[in-house]
Symmetry: C2
Subunit: 203 residues, 2 copies
Amino acid sequence: MAPERHQAVAAGPAATRRRADARRSIAAILDAALASLSTSPEVNVAEIARAAGVGRVTLYGHFPTREALVDATVAHAIAHTSRALDAVDLESGPAPQALARLATSSWQILNQHRQLMAAGMRHLGTERMRAHHDQALDRVRALLARGRADGDIRTDLPADWLITTYYALLHAAAEEVNAGRLDPREAGHTVAATVTAALRPPP
Amino acid sequence: MAPERHQAVAAGPAATRRRADARRSIAAILDAALASLSTSPEVNVAEIARAAGVGRVTLYGHFPTREALVDATVAHAIAHTSRALDAVDLESGPAPQALARLATSSWQILNQHRQLMAAGMRHLGTERMRAHHDQALDRVRALLARGRADGDIRTDLPADWLITTYYALLHAAAEEVNAGRLDPREAGHTVAATVTAALRPPP
């Protein structure tokens, strides 16, 4: 009976308040981590806790390792980006133009988080980073399907590879800007022009 | 006078023999590490030492950390690839066709080392990996310059970005094959077709 009794206690008003506190702490930590890691990817966890207004013990209680914190912060950044991209018109005109608008808008947001993305590549690995983006790439997936049906997007290469092309070029641009080899003001246009060329049906 | 005397001793026949032994050990370790890390990137250092026929102490003497060993092995793989690519004809025909031949041949070699490249991304980070490839990308750099002069390669985007496009798509293909999303037998053609489309002058 002990587990049930424990569950009954945990469902009481005190437990509800504790869960609400935990949710608020987590939200504050992720907002602080997003802001900190996006500007200085090597920032230490104590500074993130301070910025979030929580103790280090609380932070470690929710995120036992730096890897766990980076992982949750990347997910938080992608969810934030995804909400912002709801405003992009993906219906009007041919799919390649819609894809160029999506790439340009995605770049504008990714540009703010490119240091965090570099930290993610380092701490989580390329495959975990790709998995994090999978849902966000549904927009690209749908646009490519429309473009392939309309004859505006190439059908001679696998659809999954075209999604990878979009993803790889956007993230390569972030790395190039981080390395100082690409002007961030030119990056959005540059990526959009490269992606649309790569996905166009061959002549 | 002690340092000079030490130097005089170190230049004698015993020292020459020790240096030759060290060179042979390093070569054996790098060959073993290339073979091991290319098939199982999580292989432990003791197994690499065993495959190289050297003791663990000798291996750690030359490569104190796993990161140092991965770093040297990536450089070894790229030097090996670069020698193999000397056989590719980059002179005949227009630059885009030569670039497609180069991409296809590069893929065939990269395909053998794609697990090592994943380990490199993980242990060394994306920027160090890009720096390792810088000299190998001179071939691409030269072909792009020829193509831009001839009007066969786009000039509306920065030359550095076009090199990044080539590099990013080749390495994205390696990750896609590692993840099981791309058939390795199709990857060479797929990458070549995508790169040439991305670099073609816009219509």
